[in-house]
């Protein structure tokens, strides 16, 4: 009886650890669809966004490996507001994806500074939110970063 109880407790602990810790290093990863929807619902964007076909996410963001899951929204107005939540194969791939996403933002910031196509978007690009959580990566370029952070905090990440 004692042995059975110990085994059950160990199994329960293992299950709890897996659920809380996520795939790597005890950091909770984002659920791409849920995180994206939370940000859209929080109305942190001024521009009308449209979801990208998932197969374009890799080339659009300049990723070196394809994500296992990707939810990417970009501006329909030729603007720079955008949202991406990527689930990569592992934390290492996510680290590489984070670098690529940061380079993507940097390129857009540089390009806008040169062309002055949508100067009102430059401050948004300068504050761009990029983050790795476990094997996931988040990118947000929006009009209201306080509201975005609240929405992300509410996800419990």
């Amino acid at each position: 009886m004692r042995t059975r109880t110990r085994v059950c407790l160990l199994a329960l602990c293992a299950a709890l650890l897996t659920g809380c810790g996520g795939p790597t290093e005890g950091v909770k990863a984002y659920d791409p669809a849920a995180a994206a929807q939370a940000l859209l619902d929080a109305k942190v964007f001024d521009q009308e966004l449209e979801v990208l076909d998932a197969d374009l996410a890799g080339s659009y963001l300049g990723l070196s490996s394809e994500p296992e899951e990707a939810v990417v929204y970009t501006s329909l107005e030729g603007g720079y507001e955008e949202l991406a939540v990527l689930r990569m194969a592992d934390a290492e791939a996510a680290a590489a994806a984070l670098e690529a996403v940061q380079a993507h933002v940097s390129d857009r910031r540089e390009s806008e500074a040169e062309t002055q196509y949508k100067p009102e978007d430059l401050p948004k690009l300068e504050k761009a939110l990029t983050e790795q959580a476990g094997n996931t990566v988040l990118l947000v370029v929006c009009a209201d970063y306080d509201a975005a952070q609240k929405a992300l905090d509410a996800l419990g990440s």
Partner: protein
């Protein structure tokens, strides 16, 4: 002594008159028969056409005489009809999606929208927000970051690959430029440059898609973004397509309403489109393609 009287004078005996005429008559008959045969043969020839000559014996032409070109074989297949570059591409059957796998699209933020939202998967897209044809035609204007991380001119990026089709759309950012002739001339030079860099590609010149002025004014108040100016530019582009012998795609008629205005439901800011309109754009491209053989056969001065 014999006298001269005894000597019978040598008399040259002449044939009788009737016998002397026989050879002449025979000769005349022979000539007449030959004439008849020749006449009959000529008559036959004129009805039946030329009698095929026996194959000529091979002969070496004199050194001073250039070799005569061999006569082309008689054409049995009728030539493909010529493409009329003065007209927009006619509607045809729907091209397969992979038709665009060897196509490159050159343009501005609208072209980027086509790439992102229409469903098209082209071989390449070379674009930049706000890009104008004046910049695209300028090799010194290194405005687009390439895969190598370096900035490149549009033409430099274009020459890095070989394409079967090149689709071009510029003009909406040039509406306030104020020099129609410069727009026409530069666009023409740009098409020439593309043809030089991509000699095996079919060139498509896309009309400027109209805007919704009301929505655009509310959005950012740019007064020069008008459909009147777009119509002027599209008239120039159609002339240019004929002059440069490129395929003109009348996207303006395809995506605007009957009033020539981009419907409000098709746009977010009056200039850029919603997904459905990008899909309409792609659908138009798929049904307005030109057969490459017809295209090449119709060029008066093909590059290759």
């Amino acid at each position: 002594m014999p006298t001269g009287l005894d000597q019978k004078p040598e008399i040259k005996q002449h044939p009788p008159k009737g016998r002397r005429l026989w050879p002449v008559l025979l000769l005349c008959c022979g000539l007449a028969a030959a004439l008849c045969l020749w006449a009959v043969a000529s008559a036959r020839q004129s009805v039946a056409g030329p009698v095929p000559a026996p194959p000529p014996a091979p002969e070496t032409p004199p050194a001073s005489e250039p070799p005569r070109p061999t006569a082309p074989p008689e054409e049995t297949v009728s030539a493909a009809p010529l493409y009329d570059f003065s007209q927009p591409a006619p509607e045809g059957g729907e091209a397969e999606e992979d038709y665009f796998s060897d196509a490159v699209f050159l343009g501005d933020s609208r072209t980027d929208g086509l790439r992102l939202y229409s469903g098209i998967r082209p071989g390449g897209v070379i674009y930049h927000n706000g890009l104008m044809v004046f910049e695209a035609a300028d090799r010194e204007n290194k405005c687009i970051k390439g895969a190598d991380g370096q900035k490149h001119a549009v033409l430099e990026l274009l020459e890095q690959n070989t394409y079967g089709k090149v689709y071009v759309m510029f003009g909406v950012n040039e509406l306030g430029y104020g020099d129609d002739q410069a727009f026409y001339d530069t666009y023409g030079q740009f098409l020439d440059q593309i043809r030089q860099l991509q000699p095996d590609a079919v060139l498509y010149l896309q009309a400027i898609i109209p805007v919704n002025e009301e929505v655009a004014k509310k959005y950012d108040g740019r007064a020069y973004v008008t459909n009147a100016k777009i119509t002027e530019y599209n008239t120039l582009l159609r002339q240019l397509a004929e002059e440069k012998q490129v395929v003109y795609l009348d996207l303006a008629s395809a995506l605007a309403g009957e009033d020539g205005v981009l419907p409000a439901e098709g746009t977010t800011d009056g200039v850029h489109f919603r997904r459905e309109w990008y899909q309409k754009w792609y659908a138009y491209l798929r049904t307005h393609t030109v057969d490459a053989q017809t295209y090449w056969g119709s060029l008066s001065d093909p590059v290759s």
